[in-house]
Homo-oligomer: 332 residues x 2
Amino acid sequence: MVQVETFIAAVRSEAAKIDEYMRADLARLEPATDKLLLEVLDYGLFNGGKRIRPLLVVFSSRLCGNGDDDVYRLGSAFEYLHAATLFHDDIIDNSETRRGKKSVHTQFGTVAAILAGDFLHALAMSTVGRFAGSKGLEIFCNATTGMVDGEFMQLRNATKHNLSEPEYYDAIMMKTGLLIAAACEIGAIYGGGTSEQVKALRDYGVNLGCAFQIIDDLLDYLGDPNKTGKAVGNDLIEGKVTLPLILALNGAAEKDRERLLTILATREERAVGVQEVSAIIEGVGGFTAARKKAVAAVANAITVLQVFSEPANHYERNVLEGLARYVLTRDK
Amino acid sequence: MVQVETFIAAVRSEAAKIDEYMRADLARLEPATDKLLLEVLDYGLFNGGKRIRPLLVVFSSRLCGNGDDDVYRLGSAFEYLHAATLFHDDIIDNSETRRGKKSVHTQFGTVAAILAGDFLHALAMSTVGRFAGSKGLEIFCNATTGMVDGEFMQLRNATKHNLSEPEYYDAIMMKTGLLIAAACEIGAIYGGGTSEQVKALRDYGVNLGCAFQIIDDLLDYLGDPNKTGKAVGNDLIEGKVTLPLILALNGAAEKDRERLLTILATREERAVGVQEVSAIIEGVGGFTAARKKAVAAVANAITVLQVFSEPANHYERNVLEGLARYVLTRDK
């Protein structure tokens, strides 16, 4: 078993490779592309992202047997789409900061953020089409349309404070899981995996995405703002009901439950009620229970990788297992 | 030579076919897609658009010899991308109406308009990837990134009132020409055209796009708001310098030129100066000169089609010629 620290060192050089290919893409675009657009792309793409999605493409492909260098290009497409999503999401969510820096629309304006997102969208799609063919493109586009669909669901659910646990899992699958699963699946297809291997990596991605988003939602309550770059309780204030709160609502005594629903009902109450909500969730074990669900999802992710039993696959499988465990340790 | 009226009747049934395929796409998406999203798509896609881009795909393909029905699906992708562009552009340009109806962001809000645009983007890309392969997708994505690049150029040129005629042509190529040329080129590739035929159809599209945008820019000054669905002088008020004004600035006496530049300098002056600017442009023959450029572009478009000299191609070539002439007659 690779320790998390060892795993991080192992993937750091691969993440640097992804950055190198992304920088080469921008350099190639430079002569024919507007300078302001290039500045927005540079700002939005190189901001300390961990390159999780490209790394999943790279290691899924290698696990299935293809270690050529074009996989970095294919992987970059996932970072481009992810960044495009963040540019647009930060407008939609009125998020002024991202990883401790001004978000793209705060720094460059809404118009530039919409357009730069559209640009990255197209760049991502053409890259996937080029390296993963029409099958890969279909999976990639389905993940994209699924993410949008999820955002619409969230728009409608913004006033729905009795979100069920299954509804939450559906929502986070659309928000995060689809693209992470697509990275694993497309990487596996690119790597020449058998249909069993492709399915296993997709399932790994679904579970990983689930764990990833649960931890993200936990960090919204419990994270250190200096590390996450976001204010505590931002989701709650925006009216987003996430797993810790759902589990607390399900487990709380009637009095606490009513108090939670009262706070949830108005933005004013939510804005001043973050600490109180957090205390109630903690009191009924909502954070611990949510974390357990993330731990279980990571365990599932690791289990499905057992189809890769060849000793030759050992290293890549260990890295993907390490990546899944890493999700549980992240604090930003 | 097909008269414009005859041509319109001939393509009307084909445009209806495009609508039929688009409606089938929405019906196919319906079970798994958010209801609000579907409502936005329906509203934004079926609003009296003339389906010029899909028609270009269909007739370019047929002119090169392929008349199968999947070409309607490929054609729809161009309407999806076009609509996505309009959703986002109307936010960017603060356009409250589109073809006499509320624009998507005015009707459903900015968030829905951004997201629905992203959805159509992905739908367009996957459709092109599916039916036109990675070569077609590359052309399509280059048109998309080129459009964004053009918007950035426009952002930077917003304060530049001495735009040259070549700069104007570059700008309208990016704004309109690239996608229209891509429709013709991808249609030709789908149709199995020779490289000479593909190039001819692309050149046809470049010229058609140029004429189309010049007429659009003329309509901004001269159109009937009841038909165009837009207020007269909207471009001018927004500070957009288009061909009639450029030609007027080049041809006007010093006094008129200075007056034009004074009005252009501030939004307040522009908002009250539309009639005066129009009168000066008219006085120095700017509208007539701009129209002549559109007529010349249409003549070029028709000339490049001469490579299709087989009698078997006669009908499709006539339709494309008719479409080019139609651009000069449109009043909305």
